[in-house]
Symmetry: D2
Subunit: 437 residues, 4 copies
């Protein structure tokens, strides 16, 4: 039992869909689907329906040993499957892996695992999006300071920030939705020649591929992608985008959770082994850590595109673990972000205090825009700059500005920004609503 | 003139669409489009139409210096633009960069450059796809050996191989087509508050964004993506997929062009500085080299997703050069692949010789499939294995097989594989035809 | 038992040194070493020597669950260890993890695992280097064609090529040797304050760290690297260099093993699930696939350098799996390369045939150099170019050259290159000998 | 003038050492050094000393065009150099590029540029280290809160933090110092055969290489690394480590510079195009952005290790731009960090205020360690936990603790941590002093 998650804090129970057991199951299901595809297309005798691969007891050690010598796990797996079914009925093994090459099975099984991982991630993303929509609505009128390049910039609302988190979750969902997971089935050199030879029908390959896809609930790309890996790269790109979009939410949370900022906290943070008082934003930390791992993994999958021949000498093999890691991280990050968002504690008072901490300076751009409308940019800029220059803990920016304006008071209250932030929130909520239909 | 392509052999003239001059032009066009958007929405007085930013003579050194101190090139650019137009008409500068933040302009200008680069790449991809379709058709009946893991595997046709290259080109095209390049326009903290303040209309931000997009021919995502970078990542992912898909074609060509293989050559290869006899497949080498650079660049763009606050402290800045490199490599690789394919010299005789070089062993899987249909897998496998075992340069596999079959001759001629390879080619050509409508 | 190597063909038995069991063992050994360091420095009472952490039966499920909530595996591990030893003797738990923070233990345990992995890799590298030295010596006079940019270039010997492989193995060894694996021990915020507080001695932290390092056989860097990750990055860089250097040997082997080239083969290659005649260079394929995975993993470890605060919010956690993967791949690649080299079958006749296949054109640079010495570059180049131009399968380059030289015959035999290739081999062997002392 | 730094804010004037002009100069200097090496070894006639390559006026457009067709810039460069010197004295061109292949020249020229870039970076690193040493000394008694996982953890001093920054700068320096930049010189296929042929002396290649290295002030590795790229990877690894170590300092500064934290600021920050009040930590942002770019670039250089043949089909070409970018970023980051550190404004009062902001809770680990020494862990933990639980803005942790201890007051003043932090600082300063000798 080499790796059970000791170094992957988010893995349990999230790894169940992507672990070796899941992949082995998918490999068997893929072989089973191929056998059934022969039946579904009328190309196998009826008795083939009695072949039951799912019940075969597999010798995992023999598979491991065979994986090393053959270079992939399908070769020893097929050998075991055939032996077992032949023992039940002689010749049954002929209908296992019939016409396929090991890449057909492994590529398809990984797409099957990917398809399931995408679905699981999508469920968590939907919950996250829904909770973010509620958060945006709830905090529609919760003013806070917007920050750029680490500095106080201008007021926003927490609802508007949550709306941009929602944008990220919806972008992640859209990427998942756009990802297709096709079967691969084309025999040794990608031409489907074995299916033609085994049936005498040149169209058999295409028919079997369609039936195979239908059995597995996967797409039929109408072609072999044995040596043209854009389908794998597309899935990996979608996964990395999902992880990154969630990592951004976590990264933003981590800044807001800093002790000095204190605007949000995790409902139940992690403890320290050394410091009794600490409450760590552990979930956000782990989501961010997932997002830091994704770019390198995606780069590896991309390296796999450089395929020579009808099957390459290493590029294909290099995809497997990186793709699996991306699938796992996507599930983990999606589940954890769902937890993070659902349990996020928002300190609206602290948001208000922070916004006011710089003596109103966060309102200077707002004031300048208002005055520009009236006086032109040069005059507005001069007035605001003078007011900024004299603002201090004894003289608020609002008061300094009023002094510059001969006593005229510019409204620097949060109410003045709500029309704009409401528009941001409304647009995001409308997009969210559009995806729920 | 720091970098003019000395270390980027494919750059000239391909860099014209992505070099600093192109980006500076795009920045000015972006500012110009914003000014016009104010007019288009009826939010600016008519005289604003006389502001002409395109004619402003820019002081590049001052921009370079200002880029360092401000952290981006927009700040010094705006300063110059305003000074110039104010000199023509006082107050005109008020309508330059009005309500925008520098990120609005730089993000949009890079999307404008990206949009153009995508178009240029698409033209080359179309030509490539068209030439590959012709190649697939022309070599429909050109047998060659299919190879897996560097070894002779089973016969294919060069037409079938070209069809999978066409698949790659079409996948690349589809990725380009799916990529959207939206404008960014939302002011300092992404809420569009400045536009509301400058107009008194909370909907002004959305209206200006739509007009801005229309002027530039870019998309309007209906939102700000200042801190949610999935639009940038999506474009970068598409570019990396394009480069990788083309890199795969080049990688495959390079194997076929090896001296010992000799099945293809470049129409006009490169020379050596040391070896008088050499003809190097330089174009394919350079395309492959582009593809080796893409994964790392894509990883960098992905790192940029981890945005804190309303503008992050480095993640945004880290995107620029990596995105530009991907745009440049995509154009370069697309143009070079178009050249490579158009001028590819195919040695059909050598393909035939290579196929026959292993005494017919490349036909063993074909024979086994045919015999399996008839005799079952066990018998077929035993017969073929025995024939394989005795095949040598004095006894062809076909003859050895006939001996095993009591003199019965299995047809091991190329004609037997055409039904399957034709199906592959026809399907690819049909997909190509589907994209030409 | 989530991941046992199904997607990592080289993993078994190579993963034993890096799997979760090995890491859990290292964590316990690290805690044990810390307890002993308290004794070794005279800072603990003698009875502390009776604490036996190695015998503690650990509840793996509880560790997994605690890893999720606390963000790392040390917190739940320490809790179990303390409970167990407290049950044996009250207060014994006080001497477990005393003064440490979880990062001290995890960082050190990973360095312990790294140290062992480096040693294992080094053993395989030594065997590889030794076999390569023998190969270089054995094939000192085995002529073959040197190739550049996929094309025949000029003659070399296989011994000279093996010497450059040896260079790579020695460079990999040197990188391993230069890698240092220091302990980390500095308490919650990296200052060692807890050790001072627990002992009243400000030097206690440094003394304990030295004793801790001595117990584990690791280095003492004289400082904390809790937030300054260059030690981790240095180890990762060395591992990636090792994997890459071995990947280059495998990549070179794969070209030479191509059916059309046929100059080397693996002693026992892998079989195909579809093609009866195939012998795949599986080991080389898998080594190359390891090398394709390393760059992305290294990039992830490098991302971990961007540490804020005294412990960062994700960057540290992102290192773990990537570092472990690099350790595992290094062992796997080193073991596999040792096998590859030891069992490599060299077909010297095929090398000779290939060298001669281009009618002597591979000698053109040699001839040109010889003639340049005599006649100057212009004349030599003209003569050789004319000879190259008329060379064909009916007129060898040597004969064409003789015709250009009025019958004078230039020696184009392999003997002419041996002085140069012997110098290459001798220099490499001398370096190898230098490392065996 | 395609790229002059518009998207690289730190580039000017830092790109002068790495731009195309610098590389072209280095290429010419490399060719010149080779010609002189022939003289230095007594293998050329004396008149060869009159050949002056530095004065040759180069046609840049012809070089660009030739780079595309030949795949690298050396081929067209050599052609121009030879034409020019031949025009001065017939036959002089024979002594230009004599025996070399284009890779010899480009590899060596890039190492020459690297050597210079490493030196420039080292100067900035030395200044940075010196300023950091002074900062550590100056703030030896400036208490501040240490933070882990974004939360207040335990007290440190700013001097101790600066000492860990110094550790990073010293680690970066050590990496630079360990990096070697060897010449490459071995002719077409890496055996030095041309030099033997041109001289009749098999040792000529080694002698010329040594003289070549001496002329350029580069190392002689005693071998060719044309196809064994560990020297390039080693340099790239060192550069990435340097950039990362500096990026960590910037990342830490950025957190401390946050408006809510406010413990440091840049002497002269950047302005905003939209917000009049802002002072951005622009320099730190740009250093961090450099560090975000390095991992992907390093991954690309690592990909270049997978070399087949005596020169590979793309892997070599893919190194160039990535290596140059790393060199440039290293200089930029080193120069900028030197500026950042030199002008860093430290707000010691704010540090003190932040430390006290959590009512003394940052002292809880300190208190627990002190009490553990006395009472054992269980009792200490119970007491401290109770005190933590009742701490509030009305009851400090110190007071709560005293209440738990029946009025006994534990010293929670900064003085109590100085022994430990002084030890950290002293050790770092001693290491720094050790490097100045």
């Amino acid at each position: 039992m080499p790796d059970w998650g000791l170094l992957d804090p988010l893995s349990s129970p999230n790894s169940a869909a992507t672990d070796d057991a899941a992949i082995l199951t998918a490999l068997v299901q893929t072989e089973s689907a191929l056998t059934l595809a022969w039946l579904d297309t009328g190309l196998a005798p009826d008795w083939v329906s009695t072949i039951d691969l799912d019940r075969v007891h597999l010798d995992r050690d023999a598979i491991a040993a065979g994986t090393r010598s053959g270079g992939n796990p399908v070769i020893p797996l097929v050998s075991q499957l055939r032996t077992h079914v032949d023992a039940v009925r002689e010749g049954a093994g002929d209908w296992v892996h019939r016409g396929a090459t090991s890449q057909d099975i492994l590529d398809t099984a990984l797409m099957l695992v990917a398809s399931r991982a995408l679905s699981i991630s999508a469920v968590h993303l939907r919950a996250t999006a829904s909770d973010l929509a509620a958060l945006a609505e709830k905090h529609r009128r919760t003013p806070m300071v917007g920050r750029t390049l680490t500095q106080h910039a201008a007021p926003i609302t927490f609802g508007a920030k949550a709306a941009t988190w929602l944008d990220g979750a919806l972008a992640a969902e859209a990427a998942l939705t756009a990802a297709t997971t096709p079967v691969q089935l084309a025999g040794a050199v990608g031409t489907g020649g074995s299916f033609a030879d085994l049936t005498g029908d040149p169209a058999a390959g295409a028919r079997l591929r369609a039936a195979f896809a239908a059995r597995l609930g996967l797409a039929d790309a109408g072609r072999s992608w044995q040596a043209e890996r854009s389908p794998v790269v597309s899935v990996a790109s979608a996964l990395a985008l999902v992880i990154g979009a969630l990592g951004r939410i976590a990264t933003d949370v981590l800044v807001l959770a800093r002790t000095e900022v204190g605007e949000v906290s995790e409902g139940s943070g992690g403890r320290s082994s050394a410091m009794p008082q600490k409450q760590n934003p552990t979930t956000a930390v782990l989501i961010r850590s997932a997002a830091l791992q994704a770019p390198g993994l995606l780069a590896t999958v991309h390296s796999g595109m450089l395929v020579e021949d009808e099957r390459p000498s290493g590029a294909w093999h290099a995809e497997w673990l990186a793709l699996r890691s991306l699938l796992r991280l996507a599930i983990e990050a999606a589940e954890a972000t769902s937890t993070l968002v659902k349990s996020l504690v928002v300190d609206t008072e602290r948001m208000s205090v922070n916004l006011d901490a710089s003596f109103g300076l966060a309102w200077s751009e707002h004031a300048q825009s208002l005055l520009t409308r009236e006086l032109g940019r040069a005059a507005a800029s001069a007035i605001v700059s003078r007011a900024v220059a004299v603002t201090s803990n004894e003289l608020s920016f609002g008061a300094a500005l009023a002094a510059e304006l001969d006593g005229r008071v510019i409204d620097l209250s949060p109410e003045t920004i709500y029309p704009a932030t409401d528009a941001v929130i409304d647009a995001a909520l409308a997009r969210f609503e559009g995806t729920t239909k």
